[in-house]
Every structure is written in C-alpha cells, then in structure tokens.
Symmetry: C2
Subunit: 250 residues, 2 copies
C-alpha cells in the first residue's frame, strides 16, 4: 500500500511540525510560496501535500484566507494496518495505539476479560453452537486521558480456552499473535461498517456530546480453514474518527 | 477477493430464495437440520452460511426461536467492486446498481451535471488552483422508487471539459471509462469514511426519519501519475446501508 512520492514527503514534514507542536491548533501554516521554496517543489506538489493533510483532518484550507491547523483532529484509523508485519520484538501491530502515537498523543486502555454467552449476532458470526461460550476482551480506550472508543473482541472459548487470551490483562504481543501460535493465523478479514445513534450506556462511557452518532466497525477474522476465530466490534464516536482504506488496481 | 467455498454456495441458495420472494420478510427460514439435509453439508457449514446472511442484514437468528427473514434489509455496498473488470459491453461496473439488482430490487437515478467552483475540501482533494472549476455529476439514487442515497462526483474541468463527463445525462459505459479513454485510468483510490447527522436538506431529499445519521463515503481516485482525477462523495443513510471491505493477508 505504501508509496512515498514527493508530495507525501512534504506532507510528512508539515505533519511532523503539527504533531511536534511547532504549529499549534489555530496557527496559520506557511503559504504555498513558502512551502515551494522551503522544499524546492512545484505548486502542484504543495497542493497535493496540503490536500493529504486536509483529508486527514489536520488542517483547514480557507480559500483566500490561508490554511490553518485544525482545532479538533479526528483520529485517522487505517484498518488495513493490522496486516502489517510484526515489529522486531514480534508484537502485533495495534492500529489504534499506532494511530494515536503517530500523532504525538498518548494511548491508554482498560481491558476486562470475561467468558460469556455472546450476543446473538456475534455467536452467528463465530458460527458457535447453541449455548457455546466465547472469551470477550473488552477495552475502553483513551487518548490523552479522555475516553475515546471501545473495542470488544470475541474468541471461541473452544479455541482460546487455556491460552493467554482467556486470562485477564494485556497481551504484549497481541491476541492475534496468540491465535497464530494456536494454529489459527487469520488470513482474511471481513470488515462491516455502519453508523447509528449511541446507546445511553455508550453515551456515558464515551462522554459523547448530544447528537453524536457512532460508527460501528465489525471485523470477522478467518483462519486458513475459513473458520471464524475472532469478532472485533469497535464503537467509534463519529466526531473523533476518520476511517481510511487504500485500494490499488491489480 | 472472491472465494466460493461450500458455505458460500449454501448462503447463495438461501439468498436467492429470499430475493426471489420464495422466503418473504418475517418468514421463518428452514432449520439447520433441514438445510443440512437439503444441501448434504455439515452443521458447521450451515452455520457459516447463516452467519454470512446475518452479516448482510438479510436474516435474524433468534436463539431457540429460529431464524427469520428480516423486514428491513440494509443495502450491502462493496466499494472494492469498482475495480471489477468491465462487463462484456465494456461498461464500468456500477457498485450501487449491481448491489441493488443482485437483491432483486430496482435501481434508478436522476443525474444533474454542472460546472462549479467546488467546495473547499473537494478543491483541495483535487489539488485545484484557486478559482479552478470542476464538473460535478450529482445523482439522487432510488431503490424501488424510494430515494436512497446521493453521490456527487467531481472531476477537474481541465481534464474532462469537452468529454461526455461534462455533458448532461447518463454515461452508459461509466465516467471512469471515459477518464480512462482520456488517459487517466485510476490505479489507486483512497476511501474515507465518517458519519454525522444529516443536514436538513439531506433529511428532506432522502426522506430520513428523525435520529438517522448518515455515513459519508469520500473516494479520491488517482491516475498513474498520482494526479487526483475524481472525488466522489456518497451520503448513505445509516439505517439503509452496510459497507463491507474484504481484506486478505498477502
């Protein structure tokens, strides 16, 4: 997926200045002419770079008034990043933690692990038999100390019982890595995206302002035998998240 | 992306029966035992098939009460389908029309074509110079005669001026095909998804019920030179659409 053309290098530099706080919310960013000179690039390249940053919700371009750092930045989530390689310590890439940290913000989470008879739709997606149990790892995730979103991950107890997934606490190398060690590497995922108004429970847990919908992102992960081994349900307040997929023609 | 395993064949048969009206909304669908016998497959395969149909919003499984055809079916949108090959008449695949027709429903649309100074965020995404113009093709799309969603596609006038894209009316082979003929085959797209409450104009055009958010799907298409040649903004009422991406590990 990754490319790094000239305009992306310019975008990266301005992004870095914003995340580093050299450019604060509300600040005007350098003019096109300044950026052209500073980077030795064409006007078109500068415009592509600024377009990229606006797409990410980092800046706001006001024609004839200039370009400004936005006050409120939606977190850019890239669901495809889960397939990135493990890092050098063998840890799975956590797309949320990565997205938050790459913006210079602090990610934190609370995890509760329980064994449950999952909701109807989750049981169906996991193809569980009647009454079969699942391990659920429920996370409430924070950015800079503020509640930000939730992620509930369900795994068939039959598969993960006895593993770290069924025990309380964080798994440093990630639950997907544990599934892989159990012989269930996920080779395919199906992502369903929809939106709705939050439940009152979600409103209070996530401290939502009135009139804020949530995006529900449900990922089902399948192993090489086409067995569903994970259902992950994220509830993402719509004012604070932007979800991005990149597709290439093959 | 396509696979057709055993459970998908069972799912296809039940789906067909629903779309054909052999199974009407509210009807109970055959039991797992019946489906196992009818298709000569295992219980697990039947469960995977039903899981797929539930994911699509076609059926509702009520444990211990049976499985029923849902009353209201969200339209399953697959943004990746735009990259499917052209059909035998050389027409671009229209993901909306395809999604609607494959459910046995009728798709219809009204198209208005105009030349405009596009909104700020669209101008930025297209990397347009100040005051540069774009052709916008605005569609209001209908399913079974009811307004369903909108799609506004913007193209730089500099690129498409003089082509069919800049003229009123439908383009049978699709605007993307015209772009390709103009030397701007889109090789990469970036999809941004977010949700918000509708504007009052959207509420009335799309006949939304109160408290219904919309999903905004913005696709930017890039040609081989990384020039953005199309910005397509869909406004999808959240109660009537489900958006699905399928990803495979490479």
């Amino acid at each position: 997926m990754a490319r790094s053309s000239l305009y992306q290098q310019v975008a990266a530099e301005v992004r870095r200045a914003i995340y580093a706080g050299e450019l604060a919310p509300g600040d005007q960013i350098p003019t096109e002419a300044d950026l052209m000179e500073a980077h030795g690039v064409s006007r078109n390249t500068v415009r592509l770079a600024l377009g990229e940053l606006e797409n990410e919700g980092l800046i706001l371009r006001m024609r004839r008034r200039g370009t400004f750092v936005r006050e409120r930045r939606p977190l850019l989530m890239r669901p495809q990043d889960e397939f990135l390689p493990y890092d050098h310590e063998g840890r799975r890439f956590d797309t949320f933690v990565h997205a938050v940290r790459s913006e210079g913000r602090t990610a934190d989470q609370r995890i509760e692990v329980s064994i449950v008879e999952p909701p109807e739709d989750v049981a169906t997606r996991l193809a569980l038999a009647d009454g079969a149990l699942a391990v659920v790892r429920r996370r409430l995730r924070f950015v800079d100390g503020q509640p930000y979103n939730t992620l509930d991950s369900y795994f068939p107890l039959e598969i993960v019982g006895g593993s770290e997934i069924a025990r309380p606490g964080d798994i440093t190398r990630g639950a997907n890595r544990v599934l892989e060690e159990l012989g269930h590497l996920q080779v395919r995922v199906i992502d369903d995206l929809s939106a709705r108004m939050p439940t009152s429970d979600e409103s209070s847990r996530l401290q939502l302002e009135p009139g804020t919908p949530v995006v529900v992102h449900t990922r089902v992960g399948y192993d090489a035998d086409d067995t569903p081994v994970r259902v992950a349900v994220s509830v993402l307040p719509a004012d604070k998240h932007l979800i991005r997929y990149e597709l290439e023609r093959h």
